[in-house]
């Protein structure tokens, strides 16, 4: 009994210590918080990394906004966000940001008689649907994109995310780029004032509601559409070509994005040019302090990220993410060396 009490006390002490990320005892574990989009790949990477190096990762997927708040408060070593921070905000809080991984967002539909990948949509039409201007599936605008399909006169049931989400941010950012109406009436953010439709919690909620509602339309991360065998639509991209959602078409969006000419890697990869490009791609950025209080922890975190860029490619692919292209990784590492410093020396010592 006494032994049990002692071990319980040790467990409680350890739990308490793990919340105090700044305590020296826990310097061995990395701590991060934020985006739910990136969580699956972080978890898988961390698992492998711990086996290789003995260093674990404690990542709380509490949402991008929460991650930003926590990294500013210095309760975690790094934050992860699906919506890049503005230059001014980064400057104000002494943070740097860089993309960690990319993915794709796909429109999903529930139309009797229409198989996955048969329907073609474009940004303008989706914007009109989400504005409530197009209300039935046999609308002329949808027919014009799908001359060969027989479309039912079913009412369109619009489904969107109810929780604030990076997926919503990228989806609405795309609609803003394509539709002046959307830009003036709704705009883009992690949560917006939706003119029509129902909100469902999380990508799983959106997927499920669309699945249940005849005539439903929604948008989810690619992995959800693929794993739940949902009826996704093809898209007309900026080059005027019809593309399928796939890791290749997301990768094309990533490689066509101009990170080199950007400040703070603030490139949102929706509506990128290129014939093979999927128009609604998304990135997740990592946020970390420029002048860290705990240089050792930050150094370990950067080591882990460098490892993930190089050795985590297959894992990312298996989970339907797109890795950051090597050319961009070189830019990122250069920015680490230039910006993240302790005692005047770069924290990142790797290659």
């Amino acid at each position: 009994m006494r032994h049990f009490i002692r071990s319980a006390a040790v467990a409680i002490a350890m739990a308490a210590a793990s919340t105090l990320t700044l305590s020296a005892a826990m310097a061995a574990d990395l701590s991060g918080a934020g985006s739910t989009f990136i969580y699956p790949v972080f978890a898988k990477w961390a698992d492998t990394y711990k086996k290789d190096t003995g260093i674990g990762l404690n990542y709380q997927s509490i949402g991008s906004g929460g991650g930003i708040k926590q990294v500013i408060a210095k309760t975690v070593t790094f934050g992860a966000t699906d919506k890049p921070m503005s230059d001014a905000d980064l400057e104000k809080n002494g943070l740097v940001q860089f993309p960690m991984v990319m993915g794709g967002i796909v429109p999903i539909v529930n139309l009797s008689g229409v198989k996955p990948g048969e329907l073609v949509l474009d940004g303008k039409t989706i914007a009109q649907i989400y504005l409530g201007a197009i209300t039935t599936w046999d609308d002329a605008a949808i027919k014009a994109l799908n001359p060969t399909l027989t479309l039912p006169s079913t009412a369109i049931a619009v489904v969107h995310r109810s929780d604030g989400s990076g997926t919503t941010f990228n989806f609405t950012d795309y609609l803003v780029k394509l539709s002046p109406d959307w830009k003036s009436k709704v705009g883009s953010d992690t949560a917006v004032e939706w003119p029509v439709g129902v909100g469902a919690k999380g990508s799983e909620g959106v997927a499920n509601t669309v699945k249940q509602t005849d005539g439903g339309i929604g948008y989810v991360e690619y992995a959800y559409a693929k794993q739940n065998k949902l009826s996704y639509s093809k898209m007309l991209n900026a080059a005027g070509k019809v593309v399928e959602p796939s890791l290749e078409s997301f990768g094309a969006a990533a490689s066509n994005a101009d990170f080199k000419g950007s400040k703070n890697f603030n490139v949102i990869i929706t509506n990128e040019p290129g014939d093979a490009t999927w128009p609604i791609a998304a990135s997740t950025w990592v946020l970390i302090h420029k002048a860290p209080d705990d240089a050792a922890a930050t150094g370990e975190a950067l080591k882990f990220f460098a490892w993930a860029y190089k050795d985590g490619k297959d894992t990312a692919k298996a989970l339907d993410y797109v890795s950051i292209p090597d050319s961009v990784v070189d830019l990122i590492k250069a920015s680490w060396k230039a910006d993240i410093k302790a005692d005047g020396k770069p924290v990142f010592a790797g290659e």
Partner: protein, 327 residues
Amino acid sequence: MSAAQEALPAIRGSRDATVKRFALTDAVFHGMTRAAAILVLVLLGGVAISLFAGSWQALSTFGFSFLTTESWNPVTEKFGALAPIYGTIVTSAIAILIAVPLGIGIAIFLTELCPRPLRRPIGMAVELLAGIPSIIYGIWGLFVLAPFLQTTVQPFIIGVFHGIPGLNSLFAGPPYGIGLLTSSLILAIMVLPFITSITKDVFDTVPPVLKESAYGIGCTTWEVTRRVVIPYTRIGIMGGVMLGLGRALGETMAVTFVIGNAHRISTSLFAPATTISATIANEFTEAVGDLYTSSLVALGLILFVITFLILAIARYMLMRIDARTGA
């Protein structure tokens, strides 16, 4: 001087010490219980103050219009709380309308009519309902109840009331399956065990002699329940209902799953809506701007005030009833 007289002062001394000790333990006990009671007040005050401080920015920016506007727009940072307030009150009210008659019915059956061997299992089953986590209710509502309502119940009701003015706008389509009524149903199931078990417990406190007298002068079970048991336990039942209402007002997870989370007020019970706690749960993690966060805290303050008001009104009503009946 007998020996006994000599011993008196000593006895008196020890008696005084004992009395002092008793007085001391009493004082300590008194102080501790009072501290515990005051702690509740301090905590409540602390919650109120921190909510007020957190929501100050939103309240000073929007003023009174925060309570009267429907717009909830994170992009332009224009926030109004009318839609979530409406959703919170309507869903809770409908849930209580459904759960109170059911709960009192179950309690009457268990205490007056149920055969003895069945009493415990049914009572346990009802109380187990309270042990189901709200997330489970939410998932069950989303995956089981909502599709059922969507494909069978809602189209039927929409069809029935289609041509009747007033009712056709109350039950207007399209049938999403999720919406105001669905979350009211889930809430009703969730608050049922609270109302039932408290009602059952207070029914058990009715002195048997009262019931026996009523039966003795020829009352039926219905009359005994209606004229003796319910009047005697009125306050207890009200307490159970209030507890249920408090639970319904604040319920978050289950409602978030099935209400449709749309910041709109519509007359239809099938339309998607939102509640205060669902809005906070949905948006707090991603709310980056100060004004946005502050508006969400202001919603929390409003919920706090609504709950407080409802409890105060209930207490006041009970006082009125007591004063009238002279109980």
